[in-house]
């Protein structure tokens, strides 16, 4: 039996972690659910969790982001309740990426509309011959 934990990060204007938790309880699936400040953690058998979360994602496809987590919810080695407070390891990365999620959400929305972004042109480096010419021009004639 392959047990996994998945983190559901919610960055939505129409959905709260508590709404997702209620939906998860309604499903009556055999999973462990923990509501957090950023979303929800779901732990259970891989197949059950995957199918459950694919349904949950449909609630707001652009506002729900999911990744796997190594540790189970409330793991004493990671949970800050047993580590005298402070952010748990891994939270800083999550916090950093959380700031980008609204941009990613609008990008996904644009992608679904079939919008093709204008790709940025890379700045070319200065040609060596051109640099040599510039040096020659600026050289003070002796």
């Amino acid at each position: 039996m392959d047990t996994i934990t998945k983190m559901v990060v919610i960055n939505s204007s129409k959905l709260l972690p508590s709404d997702v938790v209620i939906k998860l309880y309604e499903s009556n699936a055999d999973v462990l659910v923990k509501e957090t400040c950023f979303g929800v953690m779901v732990s259970g058998e891989r197949q059950v969790v995957d199918s459950l979360l694919s349904n949950i994602r449909k609630l707001d496809p652009y506002g729900i982001f999911i990744k796997e987590r190594g540790f189970a919810p409330g793991e004493p080695y990671r949970c800050r309740a047993t580590r005298r407070g402070g952010a748990r390891p891994g939270f800083h990365n999550l916090e950093n990426e959380d700031k980008m999620l609204p941009h990613i959400a609008s990008a996904l929305r644009a992608l679904d509309k079939g919008e093709i972004p204008r790709l940025k042109q890379k700045k070319k480096k200065l040609d060596i011959e051109k640099l040599k010419d510039i040096i020659k021009e600026t050289e003070v004639s002796q």
Partner: protein, 150 residues
């Protein structure tokens, strides 16, 4: 297809790869195995004397144990990688991603493996994000779809 992501604990990359129908290879899976396997030898990560041997495949014995230890976690991911998405110079490198030498080595090994590789920068504006997501979707579409999990 199994797609290696760098930073290997990235929420955005992991989510996008899964969203576009592939399997992300992330460090969380490997850490999960170390935590959940039966009979913890040395909690919290259950690193046993066997693990640095996997790291020795990539780095010599005089290399800091942190690099070898991390490489033992990266080993199965690198071995199974069929494609890779790399974010250049991620803003933050904490925890399992907090070792610059390991990160350099991982990037080198990915290039040496000659697998399809996409290199990007983290977006800071909405326009950048659109380009970021578009490039990832096009790259993932060009790969074969992931096999159905048994």
């Amino acid at each position: 297809m199994k797609v290696f992501i760098y930073p290997t604990n990235s929420l955005i990359l992991s989510d996008l790869v899964e969203r576009f129908g592939h399997e992300p290879l992330a460090i969380m899976q490997e850490i999960g195995k170390k935590v959940k396997s039966q009979g913890l030898d040395s909690p919290p990560l259950n690193i046993t004397p066997e693990d640095p041997k996997f790291g020795l495949k990539y780095a010599a014995v005089e290399v800091p144990s942190g690099v070898r230890g991390r490489m033992s976690l990266f080993d199965p991911l690198l071995k199974n990688a069929e494609a890779a998405i790399v974010v250049r110079d991620p803003v933050i490198s904490f925890g399992c991603m907090g070792c610059a030498r390991t990160n350099e080595l991982v990037n080198f090994l990915l290039r040496a493996k000659k697998i399809p590789l996409l290199e990007l920068d983290y977006p800071s504006t909405e326009e950048d994000a659109k380009e970021f997501v578009y490039k990832i979707s096009e790259f993932l579409k060009s790969l074969k779809p992931a096999e159905e999990k048994k």
